[in-house]
């Protein structure tokens, strides 16, 4: 309960700090996601009111962009690049390996909530494909062995 209240207070504060920004919605949504990890659907009305937009506009923007989440992600987020360059170096196999190792499909979170597995379309590390990102940390030239090691470490943590 306190969590929910804290969340509302922090969202309210972020809304206030963005009210004078031109084209404020994306910067605000980023700020909310940075602060609490996702954008709670129940905050849509609050955001809409704060920026003088309709709820439909806010909902439309949140759901349009792949980056914004409306659910709490796992403790760690593993993103595996599946764009052409990484495909040419075996990223499809890495995705299959990750799904098998974690026991969950892409776009899903493991049952224990430790890892969310996602595809990503280019991390700009194409000269050292395949590339993945684990939370904030980038890894290039990933092999089956190194991926297994990275995932095992995440599950231990």
């Amino acid at each position: 309960m306190t969590n929910v209240i804290n969340q509302q207070v922090s969202i309210e504060r972020l809304i206030e700090s963005h009210q004078s920004t031109q084209g404020a919605l994306l910067p605000l949504l980023h700020a909310i996601q940075d602060a609490i990890g996702f954008i709670p659907p129940e905050s849509v009305a609050q955001i809409a009111k704060g920026l003088n937009l309709s709820r439909a506009e806010v909902h439309g923007v949140i759901t349009y962009y792949h980056f914004f989440r409306t659910e709490k992600p796992g403790k760690h987020v593993v993103q595996i690049c599946r764009a052409e360059s990484c495909q040419s170096c075996g990223s499809e196999e890495l995705i299959q390996l990750a799904e098998k190792t974690l026991g969950c499909k892409v776009h899903h979170t493991t049952a224990n909530g430790s890892v969310t597995l996602e595809p990503v379309y280019c991390l700009g590390l194409c000269a050292s494909s395949p590339a993945i990102q684990v939370d904030e940390k980038l890894h290039a030239g990933v092999t089956a062995e190194s991926l297994r090691e990275i995932l095992t470490q995440l599950e231990v943590k």
């Binding site: 360059s85 280019c122 194409c126 000269a127 290039a140």
Partner: protein, 519 residues
């Protein structure tokens, strides 16, 4: 004794192979051994197979070692790395490494040499010369210099940058904007990312010149969310440049105003399309706008707006400092200047190769790239990102210039080059192109929104041998509709990879050469 300068890159691609660990190990070992070193976190030289590339300042110049892992640091110091001595990882004087020595680095002249966020480094390496020169010129003279340089938009569309600027200069409005498109979503491209992480002041200077030229006082850099390091470095550089008076209300003491702000994108590929990007900067869904009106007349918040790619704007300071002729003398035909090509995918020596237009793909693939990384024959090369054509071996000797590529239905685009070896299934890659379009379509126009989904289905039927001849015919018809009926390049160019795969690699679709009417 002065501390010995040791360079450890801070580029994402170096961080992704453990550059921070290398820097930390160097610090620790030096401390333990009582050695006096100064670690500089430079940008990357762009030879990514050698990352982490550690360089040491010696009387003979900078000596390179790579690829260095943290565990190598002890043996490197034992061997006398700090005096530039031999080691199995020693690559000699950096500037003499053939991959670098053979390039024509104009825009990337400082890349990997300087500390990206050091203003004094930038100043000492010809920084701000272009901006200072521009401040002494009239807007129309700046624009004329840009027209004369022959610089064309490096984002992909290759529209003459000077003409765009002239339109904005001529527009009458209270407020004008400069928007830098740093939504570098194409697979196989990273020159924008390298610029923002490795030489951010160059982009800032280019944008400031654009603002001064056309009378815009506010600029935005729209950077993709997948580039957290670029966002951080650009933001820090903007802050430092503002404090130092290169940005703000009195640019270099001229009394002119130019403010700059980073806007973080949110993972929509189509926002690399200029009008979708404007919508996104305005805080809306990144849906493509119909043109006209041109963004140069009615762009961001309805005001006249210059929209250019990172490399376009980053090329401007040099053109202003050294003159239009200097730049124009590089290149061929109407493709003037240089392009930072990006060698990626299944390639042995992947990295950044800045060369004048006119070299061939074969030179890039073999003289620079050293062939495939897997050691297998190269089968197909996608040039110009996910919307670029697959270029077969028969076309690898064409000069890389906009017109020569357009003549064979291909594009140079943003200069991204993705290599596939002979294990690639071109029908699968064609399907992926349609799938990606379906995923990323903004949904505004029907050919793109519906066509991409139908495209996946048709290719699936071809691959599973259902009514193949009819389905191939249908795929061509669908591609024709998307090509001619889409609102922007997303739907309009997805047929490029699809049709080039079908035309040049019919066997992968189970189509015999000669069976299909257009092969």
């Amino acid at each position: 004794m002065n501390a010995i300068k040791v360079f450890v890159p801070r580029d994402s691609a170096a961080l992704a192979v453990g550059a921070d660990d290398v820097a930390q190990a160097l610090n620790q070992e030096a401390m333990t051994r009582g050695l006096s070193i100064e670690i500089v976190r430079n940008g990357s030289r762009g030879m990514f197979w050698l990352e982490t590339l550690v360089e040491v300042q010696t009387p003979e110049g900078r000596v390179a070692y790579g690829p260095v892992k943290a565990k190598d640091v002890g043996s490197l110091l034992d061997a006398g790395m700090l005096e530039g001595k031999k080691h199995v990882l020693c690559l000699g004087v950096t500037e003499s490494i053939p991959y670098l020595a053979k390039q024509e680095r104009l825009t990337f002249a400082r890349m990997g040499i300087t500390d990206p966020i050091s203003l004094s480094d930038y100043e000492a390496h010809d920084g701000w010369l272009g901006l200072r020169r521009a401040l002494s010129m009239s807007g129309s003279d700046i624009v004329q210099a840009l027209v004369d340089s022959g610089l064309r938009g490096r984002g992909g569309a290759a529209f003459p940058a000077g003409i765009k600027w002239r339109t904005v200069l001529g527009a009458v409005a209270q407020q004008k904007y400069i928007v830098c498109n740093a939504d570098e979503g194409d697979s196989g491209t990273f020159s924008d990312r390298m610029t923002m992480e490795g030489d951010p002041y160059m982009l800032i200077e280019g944008m400031a010149i654009a603002g001064i030229a056309v009378g815009a006082t506010q600029g935005y850099v729209y950077i993709r969310s997948e580039y957290p390091h670029a966002i951080r470095t650009m933001s820090e550089a903007i802050e430092r440049a503002t404090v130092a008076g290169y940005l703000g209300s009195n640019v270099c003491g001229s009394g002119r105003t130019f403010n700059l702000e980073v806007r973080k994108a949110a993972g929509a590929y189509v926002c690399g399309e200029e009008t979708a990007m404007l919508e996104s900067v305005e805080g809306k869904r990144g849906v493509v706008r119909a043109k006209p009106p041109l963004p140069a007349l009615e762009g961001l918040f309805g005001q006249p707006t210059v929209i250019n790619n990172v490399i376009t704007l980053a090329s401007v300071p040099l053109i202003m400092a050294k003159g239009a002729n200097f730049y124009r003398d590089y290149g061929v035909g109407r493709s003037q200047g240089t392009l930072p090509f990006q060698l990626a995918g299944n390639i042995k020596h992947g990295g950044l190769v800045e060369k004048a237009f006119g070299l061939t793909l074969r030179e890039l693939l073999y003289d620079f790239g050293g062939g495939s990384r897997s050691g297998r024959p190269i089968k197909a090369v996608q040039v110009g990102g996910p919307l670029g054509a697959y270029v077969p071996e028969s076309q690898w000797d064409l000069p890389l210039d906009y017109e020569a590529y357009a003549a064979v239905g291909a594009v140079v685009g943003h200069g991204g080059i993705v290599v596939h070896d002979d294990t690639a299934d071109m029908a699968k890659l064609a399907r992926y192109a349609m799938e990606f379009c379906a995923l990323e379509s903004c949904g505004k126009c029907t050919p793109c929104r519906i066509g991409s989904t139908r495209g996946v289905e048709v290719i699936d039927r071809i691959r599973s041998n259902q009514n193949k001849d009819q389905q191939v015919h249908l795929l061509r018809d669908l591609c024709n509709t998307m090509l001619n009926g889409s609102l922007c390049a997303m739907g309009g160019m997805t047929p490029f990879p699809v049709l080039s795969a079908l035309n040049h690699y019919p066997a992968d679709f189970g189509v015999k050469v000669g069976d299909d009417e257009n092969v």
